[in-house]
Symmetry: C2
Subunit: 242 residues, 2 copies
């Protein structure tokens, strides 16, 4: 509409001390991306969504980040109120935790994680996998309209990490740690777990190759698969056949 003389400054805003690249747009999404859009930021938030983490722990689970960049991102996120430093439970060392504002990103992060499942290819050695990412994957895959009627728990043991899904009053929640009385226990390695989540591998196929072990009531297994949107046709017929 206007010619190019509408007085903007080329999309880059610069200050004396910290040069920071902003979109310079008066818009909620642009402002959100000014905060979150730089490299690694949302992955750091993904890590912190599962609880407070130490600097070195973040560094270990985000290979390639570079220590200076991680420190700079954490500082920036702290200044903007997404992250705060908290006392680590064991000792006087500090951990980083999400603030309320940071926690508000959970639904969007989960939505992006689910959306991105479609772009996850077959697992290739050399790619980084962490078992606790399966926790978020399960949370992202919840089908709100498929929550079982009965209250029960499903436990997942992914590599060395244990978490469970708690179904209660028609709602499902993902929780860290073991369940009190799991109706089903799935034991699996992290890569296979993600691979099943993407739909590239069915639970049955993973069981056949020995990558996945399922203990407990077969009906509970099927309800759990329905809850997280996994295909159960082959598994169902296999169960009745076996």
């Amino acid at each position: 509409m206007n010619p190019k003389t509408n007085g903007y400054d080329s999309g880059v805003t610069r200050t004396e001390s910290g040069a920071r690249r902003t979109y310079n747009q008066y818009c909620g999404l642009a402002s959100a991306l000014d905060v979150l859009g730089e490299r690694w930021t949302l992955l750091i938030i993904r890590e912190l969504l599962m609880g407070p983490r130490r600097y070195s722990s973040l560094l270990a689970d985000l290979p390639g980040v570079g220590t200076n960049l991680l420190a700079e991102r954490l500082k920036s996120m702290t200044e903007r109120g997404l992250v705060r430093q908290v006392q680590s439970d064991s000792g006087a060392r500090m951990s980083y935790a999400l603030t309320e504002v940071g926690q508000e990103l959970r639904p969007m992060v989960l939505g992006l994680a689910k959306w991105g499942m479609e772009f996850v290819g077959p697992y290739s050695p050399g790619e980084v996998v962490r078992p606790h990412w399966g926790f978020l994957a399960v949370e992202a895959m919840f089908q709100p309209d498929k929550v079982p009627d009965r209250d029960e728990q499903y436990q997942f043991e992914v590599d060395d990490q244990v978490f469970h899904v708690d179904v209660r009053d028609g709602r499902a929640h993902a929780m860290k740690g073991p369940a009190d009385a799991p109706a089903m226990i799935a034991t699996v390695d992290a890569a296979t777990f993600i691979e099943i989540g993407t739909g590239r591998k069915t639970p049955l196929a993973a069981m056949v190759t020995g990558k996945l072990k399922l203990d407990g009531d077969i009906e509970a297994v099927l309800r759990c698969c329905d809850l997280i949107g996994l295909e159960t046709g082959a598994l169902r017929s296999h169960a009745t056949a076996g």
Copy 2:
């Protein structure tokens, strides 16, 4: 062997033709960010969420992007199946439109836009504003539990753009173009509209300074404000007083 080039770089995957920086993580979010995380990509999707757009139109509404980068992003998004080229309604020229996969990003984009509202400061001349961003702002601000009982329409005229909210059967939808029978018409400039959305300015304050004009039933205005989460206390008392 050169010690700097031994092995492979973690975090960077390189192919012969197009070098592309990926997180190299077997995770849905990381894959999503490999697709969406580069600069300008999500802002291009924001533009396309409101309908097909021409190349030059995108360029005009994304100042600072640089033509090469816009072309490269559109090509990449087309290859990945987020975007496709469609026939423009007027003439044989091509426009860019979101595919089904691209449309699936709407809730996450709206969520981020709403979240980012908190980081939008007061409007400073020099920042870019576009009236159609108000369309997305309204969509992002919908309070699903505050949809009015009665079916009605609210029309918004932001600079030269007209859109409306259609309330029907307990659901609200944002639509392009004028309403059939609007119960309320708001006329406002784009900057003020976003400023109200962020909560930095109340509708009443904007009316007093002449930036916002509200026509129609005062009760409809109040219902509309409730629907999009705007503070109505002062407006309500002002209406009864006047």
